[in-house]
Symmetry: C2
Subunit: 110 residues, 2 copies
Amino acid sequence: MSNYRDDQIIQFAEAFKALSNPNRLRMFLHLITCCVPGTVGSFDAEAGVSACVGDLGRDLDIVPSTVSHHIKELHRAGLIRMERRGQKIECWVDPVILRSLARFFDEPLT
Amino acid sequence: MSNYRDDQIIQFAEAFKALSNPNRLRMFLHLITCCVPGTVGSFDAEAGVSACVGDLGRDLDIVPSTVSHHIKELHRAGLIRMERRGQKIECWVDPVILRSLARFFDEPLT
DNA sequence: AATAAATTTCGATATTATTCGAATTATCGA
DNA sequence: TCGATAATTCGAATAATATCGAAATTTATT
């Protein structure tokens, strides 16, 4: 039937579950648009381009502990990577899974 | 930030929610691979190529009422279309949303 | 009209998810 | 070392989801 193994299907389902929450999806889009996938945003406080946990929760009307929880979910699903830089923890989108998700929907059309 | 309006983000989140259940994702993949998106599968019982509700539940170890529920979810999320043909109800993938989902992940990479 | 096949609806239950607030940990700067 | 900032952990309340089985509906066949 499908070209994917069952464990791959499970993995895709996990990714979609992570993106099924509107707030998590907004965070993911924030990361996608604020910096080139695979890289953390440059630290320009003026331009407001950044990607730490606190920034991702801004404009979302949820408390920090909830933001933290959501980011952990995105990370568990393999969508983002995280790294501590001083007090802040930087996040960025994993370009590999982004590519595989694009192919997931693109392949059947080509 | 993102290129999408908030109502579009909500709509994407709905689509991802529908695909977040492994059984629903398998059904979706079944539809994608059994027939060209936008068309129902040809009715060749020999080849086993078809896309009615009963067929989608086969090999999935879930009862018909659960299959029906899942298909309704896929339909509510706008992922598939359905049409009655006699006793059976045929399903096929909506090519428009498939394209928009592909772009969702493809755009940031290009 | 009666039966069979395909699907849906409904109600129930068990599991999982969302979000909060309080308390805790980690790091930086004075 | 103290205080401030950033983030996490934990427990709890509420809401949503997945799945089943029984009963009902729709369509085709005899």
